[in-house]
Symmetry: C2
Subunit: 412 residues, 2 copies
């Protein structure tokens, strides 16, 4: 089993990374809105991007760059304007942004990756962006930094983590930051996350590890069923830990992938918990399916059901909605095999409703949802759909009045 | 072109049908909760049912009956308890309900079809149901009846229509009632609708017509993305119009199918407009796709997007969310072909945002949404994704605070 410990420093915990976040004037509110992550040396770069047919200029740009060469030195991320559905002008803005970062860092623009978040259809405000780039470069630091805060939109808290494991007698670290809130849904999917790592790993292996980790984490969270135009997960591995290069599957690769997956799950859960208007995290575990993919699909569908989410907000143990959501996940099962649990309370056994203490089940919801923010305010739902080995977990949040309030009036 | 006119009488407008609705005491509120529709003679019966893996006892029962013989005399529908996820006991209740109707009408229980709506996981309250059946039989009438009201749950208004066309010099009529509100989503899907017709039509043709009509109507509405365990559309055709039997495709079949489709679209739109908490109808038209199926899928995804729905509730012309939803519909297109309209105002042309008067677009939303209930309070959204012949329309509603309020506390 891989073991690791939490360390401080977020994305700059791994050796050879610096970061910063500033208020460049892109957001009308004056909040921080421009983040930069830089590796001191060329880093292997992998990415997972939105499946939306309408993809932002930055997404198209990163796909093109990574297809040409799987390495990078820097990631620039702006909040405020999504630069999606912005046509040729938006594409030019992306090119110009990379050029400006390249100029400020004295590196090739081709080594710069880009991400944007904000209002779809709005081009980046290039004047403040260009003016901000030298400022954010100036503030790059290997210590505590504001990058996690600068990529936020309607997020309430910034999301950051760093883990450390020992490989070949030396520490190897992975750090990560993410932002999410509204528009969180499976299929790479509606969030931004940046991961740094100081291990040395071959490009195809790093990409495979990242894709698998995304399937177990970011692709298993859902807030409102909408998949964004800008979703991006980018991971850099720069080798500065000076541990042996990992170029093939094996124990070392497994150890690194396990820690990478843990970083992604932490960041993904933090996004789900911080869904717009959410009052608690909902964790849905599905078992008994034919395979993990089917189990994940069922878990995701339950976690994403508006009716289940509304019931959790109402602290209402309406398990019939859980059954209904599991049944429409697109996975065949026999309803006479269906078990449903809310916390430790079993509500349905082999398709037959069990007599249960409604007050106790409602009490579980009230107690589980009342924990500390981002720590233990988790409502656990479990469904078993058969006798197969498939296992999957998904995370979501409840649906509250505030979700509607936040989204009814976002651009105007 | 087929022509028809609206007539009064709903499901009893076609010859040889009677119906009634009563308060049998199944709903705690004391509202009407038991409906019965009867044909004087054996009617050809067709049905379209939920795709949910967790299906109600009544759905399993109807599927079994219709597979054995595509005819029926009566449809019994209760509100209050869904009789879904109720195991063997629920199945027995379904059998007993059919038997009780058969006894009261003096017909075979095999000629009785069943539908239920209400709380999932709750068995039907059989004592009041059995006591109510002779009462509802007593009240059967060919005139104005309360069946449409008796199948309602959280619906605000009852939904009913009847159309008449001339075939071979004689009037042919189709009537229909439906209920919907929460849990409305494509894939036969989260609603109950019953259609009566006095034409004579062969069983396979009637089933084909009904399936195609459902694809253009009930499968194109969405309220909250949840597909119910109980969705049922059942259509009876009893031949009492004494018009020539329609047994093969042709002009007469086309005429009947066009009117059937119109009845289904009317009932489906009424359900979408009456979505829980809705303040207006949203009609999304998609064109330019490779085929109708793809166009329908795009229209449905836009109509079902929580972010689009929230924006409409906020009367916020946030067209980027329309682009984002169209892009994640699972249909490939080139975003440089994308056009978006809100009413008559074009917002995006060939992937390029157009300068537009935000106040005017917001004004369109405010004005369009402020029409008369179920008549002209329609927000029209149009997307064009290419140059193909595919065309599809979907209907939904906005997402308001009240949706959350209704669903946060439904069982307790």
């Amino acid at each position: 089993m891989a073991t690791w410990q939490t360390v401080s420093g977020g994305i700059t915990a791994p050796k050879g990374f610096r970061a910063a976040g500033i208020a460049a004037g892109l957001k009308p509110s004056g909040a921080k809105d421009l983040a930069l992550i830089v590796s001191d040396v060329d880093a292997i770069a992998a990415g997972v991007f939105t499946t939306n047919q309408v993809s932002a200029a930055c997404v198209d740009y990163c796909r093109q760059r990574l297809a040409a060469k799987a390495s990078a030195r820097a990631i620039l991320c702006n909040a405020g304007q999504a630069n999606a559905a912005t046509g040729d002008g938006g594409w030019q803005d992306a090119q110009d942004s990379a050029q400006a970062v390249g100029d400020a860092l004295g590196i090739s623009p081709d080594a710069v990756l880009l991400a944007s978040t904000g209002v779809i259809g709005q081009r980046i405000r290039m004047e403040p962006l260009k003016a901000g780039i030298p400022v954010v470069v100036e503030q790059l630091t290997a210590g505590e930094n504001e990058a996690a805060r600068a990529i936020m939109t309607t997020d309430l808290v910034s999301k950051s983590i760093a883990l450390e494991t020992m490989m070949d007698g030396r520490p190897v670290r992975i750090g990560g930051i993410s932002k999410g809130s509204g528009m969180i849904h499976p299929n790479m999917a509606t969030m931004l996350a940046f991961v740094t790592c100081d291990a040395a790993v071959s490009p195809p292996l790093w990409q495979e590890m990242l894709s698998r980790a995304a399937d177990k984490s970011f692709n298993q969270i859902t807030v409102d069923g909408d998949t964004s135009t800008n979703d991006s997960l980018v991971a850099l591995a720069n080798g500065e830990s000076r541990t042996p290069a990992i170029t093939a599957p094996g124990a070392a690769a497994d150890q690194l992938e396990a820690m990478l997956t843990q970083v992604c799950i932490h960041l993904a859960k933090a996004i789900a918990r911080d869904g717009e208007g959410a009052t608690c995290l909902v964790e849905v575990t599905a078992t008994g399916a034919a395979n993990d993919k089917s189990a994940r699909q069922i878990a995701r569908t339950v976690a994403g059901s508006s009716l289940v989410k509304s019931a959790v907000f109402g602290r209402d143990p309406n398990w019939g909605r859980i059954a209904g959501a599991a049944g429409r996940a697109g996975v065949a099962f026999d309803q006479s095999d269906l078990d449903i649990y809310l916390g430790d309370v079993q509500l349905l056994r082999e398709g037959q409703p069990l007599p249960f203490d409604r007050a106790a089940a409602s009490g579980y919801l009230k107690q589980a949802a009342a924990g500390d923010y981002l720590k233990d305010d988790t409502v656990a739902i479990a469904v078993k759909v058969g006798h197969g080995p498939g296992h999957g977990i998904a995370w979501g949040c409840d649906l509250s009045y505030d979700y509607v309030k936040i989204n009814a009036d976002y651009t105007t």
